[in-house]
Each structure stands twice: as structure tokens, then as C-alpha cells.
């Protein structure tokens, strides 16, 4: 029976690693952490203060990448025959939870020096519209942020005109041309890149 005594002693010592081996969590239903912040909607509102023409375009993808395809509506402006000017304002939302649609704009404003919007007309659109930053809207370093912009309408669209709106995170705001809206030297990471059809119709 001496043998069994030895075995029982051994078993006690064997239990030691078990005591230590409990770092992992056996919880079958660990709490599901909140989803990372998602940008699902970009709205752009354009107002011509002279004619009071107001227009609105939206890119909306509430279920995020994949799944159901996003909805995109065109930007429709009016051309009076002489150069007109629209004041534009973008709004960014997280609508992934329809009961709690979250405004992202305030957060962008708070980190204004880390963000910049770019407005990129394609070649065709470049002939009929000229987009510049609202000079009133600057970050703490005096650089543009680009939530607000000024669209000068120069003519009528034909076909295939588009404007791409880009939001860059941590861009090099001091890069050549970046302050005037040229994205070439901006670097950083793309948060948003949305292309809208542009339609400029006679009034």
C-alpha cells in the first residue's frame, strides 16, 4: 500500500498547475463589445443664396461594406445662364443602428486639424463647376477643414460629370496645394470616398 501513498502524494503535486491554469475565462456568453464606429451616410446640402434653390444628395449604406448595395443620389444644380454660386455643407452620420443615428460632424470638428475634405470633380465636371473651401472654416492652425464649400457653377452638364468627395484622416495639411484642395500631396488615410453624379440643368 506504500505505492498508493506515493501516488496520492504525486496527485497533490499534480494539482498545482491546475490551480495556476485558470487565466482564461470559461464564460460562455462574454459580453459583446460595441461595434467600432461606422460611417454609413454622407449627405450634401447645396443652397444658392440668390435664387434660394436648395438641393440635396445622399450616399447611404446603413449595413456597412458588403451586404445590401448603397443608395447614391445625384447632385442636381441649376444654371441660370450666368455664373451662380452654391454654398455646400456635408453631414456625416452613423446610421447602422436606426434607433440611434449618430452625428459624426461634431467629432470631425473637434479633431479638425486631423481631417480634411477634398472635392474632386472629374475632367468633364471641372469645366462646369469650380469648388473651393469656405474661407471662414479653418482649423486651429488656420488650415481648411472642408465641411463647408463654395461651388461656382459655370455651365450645363452633358453626360458623365462626377464629383468625388474624400475625407482624409491625418493628412499632411502643409503639403503643396493641399490647402487649396489638391489631394495629390495630402497622404494620410481615406475615411470616406464617395462619387456623386453631377447634373447641372438650365433653370
Amino acid at each position: 500500500m506504500k505505492n498508493s501513498k506515493i501516488i496520492s502524494k504525486a496527485l497533490i503535486i499534480f494539482a498545482i498547475p491546475v490551480v495556476f491554469a485558470c487565466e482564461g475565462n470559461d464564460d460562455d456568453n462574454p459580453q459583446i463589445e460595441n461595434e467600432a464606429e461606422l460611417i454609413t451616410v454622407l449627405n450634401i446640402t447645396l443652397i444658392n443664396p440668390v435664387t434660394n434653390d436648395t438641393t440635396f444628395a445622399v450616399f447611404s449604406d446603413p449595413d456597412g461594406p458588403g451586404g445590401i448595395s448603397p443608395t447614391v443620389t445625384p447632385i442636381t444644380l441649376k444654371y441660370t445662364g450666368e455664373n451662380g454660386q452654391y454654398l455646400a455643407h456635408v453631414e456625416v452620420l452613423d446610421s447602422s443602428n436606426p434607433n440611434d443615428v449618430e452625428q459624426i460632424n461634431p467629432e470631425i470638428l473637434e479633431e479638425a486639424d486631423m481631417h480634411q475634405f477634398f472635392y474632386l470633380p472629374n475632367t468633364e465636371a471641372g469645366e462646369v463647376v469650380n469648388i473651393s473651401y469656405d474661407p471662414q472654416e479653418i482649423d486651429s492652425n488656420g488650415n481648411p477643414l472642408g465641411i463647408s464649400s463654395i461651388w461656382n457653377v459655370l455651365g450645363l452638364t452633358n453626360q458623365g460629370e462626377t464629383v468625388t468627395i474624400v475625407l482624409r484622416h491625418s493628412p499632411n495639411k502643409g503639403g503643396a496645394g493641399v490647402a487649396t484642395g489638391d489631394i495629390t500631396n495630402a497622404g494620410g488615410e481615406t475615411d470616406i470616398e464617395v462619387t456623386f453624379q453631377l447634373e447641372i440643368q438650365p433653370e
Partner: protein, 778 residues
Amino acid sequence: MKFYLPLIGLLLAATQISAQQENCDIKIYGRILDSNSGTGLPYATIQINGTGEGTVADSLGAYQLANLCAGRITLKLSHIGCAPESKTFILHSDTILNYYMDHSDHFLKEFEIVAGAERISADRNIQLSKLEMRESTGLQLADRMKEMPGIRVLQSGNTISKPIYRGLHSNRLLIFNNGVRQEGQYWGAEHAPEIDSYLINQVELLDGVEGLAYAPDAIGGIIKIESESVFASDSLHGDFQSSLSTNGRGGSAALSLGGRLAKKLPLYYQFQGSLKKLGDVETPDVVLSNTGTEEYNYSYALGYKTKNLVLNTFYSKFNQEVGIYRFSHLGNLTDLLEVLGGGRQPDTLDFSYDINRPRQVIDHELFKAEMRLITGRSSSLAAKYSRQFNSRQEFDAHTGINPSQEELARPQLSYRLLTHQGDITFSYRKERLEGKMGIAGIARTNTFSGRSFIPDYENYQVGLFLVQSYTLPGIKLNAGLRYDFYNSDIYAPYGSPENPINQNFKGFAGAVSAVQQFENASIKYEISSHWRAPGVNELFSSGLHHGVGVIEQGDSTLSQERSYNASLVFVKNWQKHQFNLSPYLNYIRNFIYLNPESIELTIRGAFPRMDYKQANAVFAGVDLDYSTNFKRFDINLAASMIYAQNISQNSKLNGVPPQQFSAEAKYNFRKWRKIENPFIAVKGSYTMEQYRAPQVLPADLFLNQNTDAELPSSFDFAPAPDGYFLLNIQAGFAIKRNFISLTVDNTLNKTYRNYLDLFRYYADQLGLNFTLRYQYNF
């Protein structure tokens, strides 16, 4: 397989010199010889029982043990394909001891084989030799394994790597760490196996028949890793190992201690711990920002051993924090296009030890308890239980807009996997028949949260297996069969704990092989079939994969993958020459891969959408190896060639290893004073461009948002990198129990990119690197 090892001749030509008390300057030397041919058998391991000290015979079978004390000594000899053999005698003075080993008789192996670099018999698993292990200290598992034929390294940047065997990896190439299936590495190519490199004492690739005792889903194979046996020695023993590298400006160190706890009790222990700290690594031109690594790991084991009962428990903890190259995380395809065009250069080039975002924090914990009961003269019963916990947290570069402290502390992706495994195996041997049978089970609880939107789930798997071998004169036959049932319950967001989505898969796996042994040659023929249930990521993933810039979509209707594998191993020895040829053909029915489906618009622009699909695929190739020696030179030539194709679509596959050729020359210097085994080795390897890479579709195509564009069934964003030639130099020697070596990697400081690096779009490979290794055994 075990060579029955009668010592046909034991030559004890002892020269009697006056035996002094406490004389500790005695040598034993001699050769290990084949009793049939009388030729030397290279790379046997000779160890002294009780001290753990030992040596490896050279390529001619010659060995030498120095600085031994007079008295009773037990030598343990082990060789490829042979069971360890012990010899006890009284040592008086310098002794020549020649061992004759019999290579004519074959049995399935009963004991684990210890070492060996070259393949003498075709019926042997590919292993790393002790020397190769020693010369790769501190490297990750995959980098340590790259000397093994057929093994290539899959990288996610320069600091994360995992092995590829014959073109397959991750969930098709299983890793068994101390007898326990390593779980965390299945979830993606960028998940390296969570194993402390210093814990690895032995690495081997299992063959198809033997692998059936482990798993049914080894479509690409099984890598078996063992740490040192807790029963290695009665006396206090251990080692200190360290490695310092110039590239990364850091290193690692490990200490291991083992012995017997009490004289009266047959109770053994082993403790081990390691630390690692490396800063940013460098290409020939730039410092790769945020590529540091930090690790601390520890393990301990207890063992109890009597004549009829072996008990042991093992616990290990792995903790790693690794930085991901800052400029590999991109917002969208415009960013990728700019990087590929060379237009976006990192703005910080300063070296740093800091690990910032993006980074991964990885924990792995393993507890194992094992019992082996000797039930008869040639039978035993073994039972094993293990519990494994994986935690992986990924912190992205981009934290969202204006994050709160709470948001910053929260990983963008978090996996937690808890796995219980258990098995019972009965092994037996009766005359020419040998085998084992058993039952094995796994239960997993996995929770995911964060960006990639994989559901929570639980699954279990139960399997029954039978492995047999039968030895006839000149030929050995092996066969195995296994049946498994796999059940899984999918929870949120697709199902719920009350109403889960239930899926189950079942099937047989089997293998047969035959080994023919000739006088100076050996051939092994093997055919096997395995099956694998589709992974949860393949079934349910949905979302944007940031690292690779594609939207991945799972398919819940996928069926199981089935492989049909035929392989041959041919080994020929003549005089000093040894030649290995290993062709293989792996046909995989319902091979699961990502198929480009459409161009999909998101708020970050357009991305290719890739759906998990199934097709029939083939992986065929050959591994070649030739070695010889003349005078003090050892020469080795090796080649690894692989062809892979999606047969159903008749298209190329992504990520297939390009052809690789290498040549190594090693010069063994004469022993000089106390400096033993001094050597210098030069190795050149040439990796070709992957000329069968899928066609290139530039990112512009997707940016133009032409969502109607037809996509081919495979493509890449950039052409495969050019071929490259690398030169490595290594030198080393031993003084008593100290081993010192210096390795120079990428000696020519060549700038190149590696097709098998998932970050090949973003960064070059490492430049010149000096690594100094020191090891002390006691």
C-alpha cells in the same frame, strides 16, 4: 517505426591509463556504423544519461564526447528511425566506442525519435536536427522550420510568420504543440502560431498514416512540436539560450531547469521561461516603423514515472505584443494605389522600440494532463486532457474620429477561443503487427467581437481512429482509418443561444503506405484522403478586410473539403552521397478559396468583393535534396518546386510558393585546443519570380467604380515580385558546454520583396542582419 537495434558489435578498445580519482578529462569517441554495409551513419545523437550533455555524430558517423569524469556512465544513442538505445559501463580512461546499428528490421516506432538532419530511410518523418535547432534559436517557428524540405514561410510583414507545407497553410496545416492541437492559428494567414520558440525541442512533419491518430483535417499535413521531456534526467539540468540581432537591435533569452524532485519519489519537474524584445526592423533602405515585438513566456511541467505508470502535467503561457508596420494599414484602394505607385512614403524613419497602433496583443494558455499505463509486455493505454485559451486583440491604426479613452482601450477586433480536448489511445505490438486505436474529442467556445463580423459559436468534434503497421521482410505496410463527427452551433448575429444555427459534418479519413527497404535505398509510397469542415470564417464572414483591401463574404452553404494525396519518398545512399526525391500530388475536391465576385461600393470607395467559393484544385510538386561530403566539406543542394491550379475554373491560385533552389557548403575545422566543432557555412538560395501568379488588375479598375466589370476567378493588385538571390553565412563552435554561433542573414544587403509576404505591396524584406547566439547547457 523502430529499428530493432541489437548491438552486433560493441567495440570497447579501452586504453588503460592510470585511473585517477576525480579525473574529469576523459574522452569517448568512435563511430556509429551500419552493421550491414559497415558505412558510417550520420547524425546520430549520443547523450549522457543524467547530465543531459551530449553530441551529434558528424556526417561520417564520427562523434566525440570530452571532459567526462571517471566512473559509471550511461550513454543513450538515438538515430533516425531507431529507438533510443542505452549502454552502461565503467569509464576509466579515454575510450573508443563504436556502435553497430542494424538497419534490416523494421517496426512502427514506439519511442519518439530524437534527432537527425538527413533522411536515411524513406520511412521517416522530416525533422530538424539538434544542430539546426540550435542554429535557429530565437526565431519564430516558421523561420526555424524553413530548412525542412517542402516548408516555406508565409509572412504578414517582417515580424509575423507561419509555415506553409507544399503550398498549404493555416487551417489546412495543423500544428500539434505538445500533443495538443494549436487552435488560434486557424483564423487567418496573419495569425502566427502562439508558441514560445524556446520551448520547441523537436519539430517534425507527420506522415499521412501516423497523422490519422491526430486529426482528420490535415489536408496539408501535421507539424508536431515537442518540448523537452520532463523525464530527461534525474539530476538538475537545464540550459540558458540567448540570441542577439543587429536588425531590430534586440534579442531574446531563455532559461530552462529540470530534474527530479525527490530521491524517494519518481517525481520530475521542468521550468522554463523566455523574454524577447526587438525594436523596429530595417530593410536595406529604411527603418520599418512600428515593427517591434515584445514577448514573455513561461511553462512548467511535472512528471511521475514508475515502471507501469507515467503521469505528467504541462502548463504554458505565451504573451506577445507585436507592432504592425504602420504603413500597411490603408483606408481604401486609392491609398493602396498611391503606395503601389511609390507615391506615399513613410514620413518617419527613426528607429524606435515603441509598439504603437496598429498592433496585436496575443495570449495563449495551455494546460495538459497525460497518463500512460503499461498494460502488458507490449501494450499501453494513454489518456490525455487539455484546456487551451486563446485571446487575440487587434488595435487598428485608425481609431475612428475623435475617440474617447474608452474607445482607445478597446481593440477593433477581439477573438477569444476556449478549447477542451481529450483522447484515449491504446497501443499494442504483437510480432510483426503494431498499431494503435483510440477516441478523440474537441469542444470549442469561440467569441468574436469587432470589425470582421464573424459570429459567436460553439462546436464539438468526436473521432475514432485505428492505425496499423505490418512488417514483412524488405517491406513494411501501414494503414489507418478515422471517422469523425463535427457539430457546430452558430449564435449572434445569425442565430441566438436559444435558437442557434446548427451545422454538422461527418466523414472518413484514411491512408495507406508501403515502405520498401533496399540495401542502399528506400522507397515509400503513400496515398491518403482527408476532409475538413469549412471554417466559421469561410461560412459566415462578412465585411471589409482592411489589411488586404477586399470585402470578404462567407457562404453558409459550403460543403466539406476533401483531399486525395499521393506521394513518394525515394532515398538513395551511395558511398558519401545521399539523395532524396519526394514528389507529391494533392487533389483537393471542393477546395475553399476567395473568388472575386463583383466590385462593391462602400462609403470608402469601391472594393472588390470576394466570396468564399469551392472548386477542385491540384497542388503538385517535388522536393529534392542532395548531400555529400569530401574531406572537411559538407555540401548540400536542395530544390522545392510546386505547381498549383484551380481545375474547375482553369485558373491560377493566389499565394502559391515560387520555385526555390539552394546550395550550402560547410567547412568543419579541426578541433583546436578547447574549441570543438568549429565550422563555417555559406548558403546561397535563389527564389524565382512566381511566374504563375494570377493576372494583375490595377486598383484603378476598381476606383473607376465600374461595378459591372467582369472579374476573373483570380487576380492580384500588383505583379509578383522579381526573383532574388540571398546569401547567408554562419559560423560557430563549442567550448565545453558553451555553444556560440554568428549568423549573417542577407549578407549582400539585397533589397527585395517576397511573394509569400502579405505585406509585399507595402515594404521590402529585411536587410543585413547579424545574429549572435549563445547557449550553455548544464
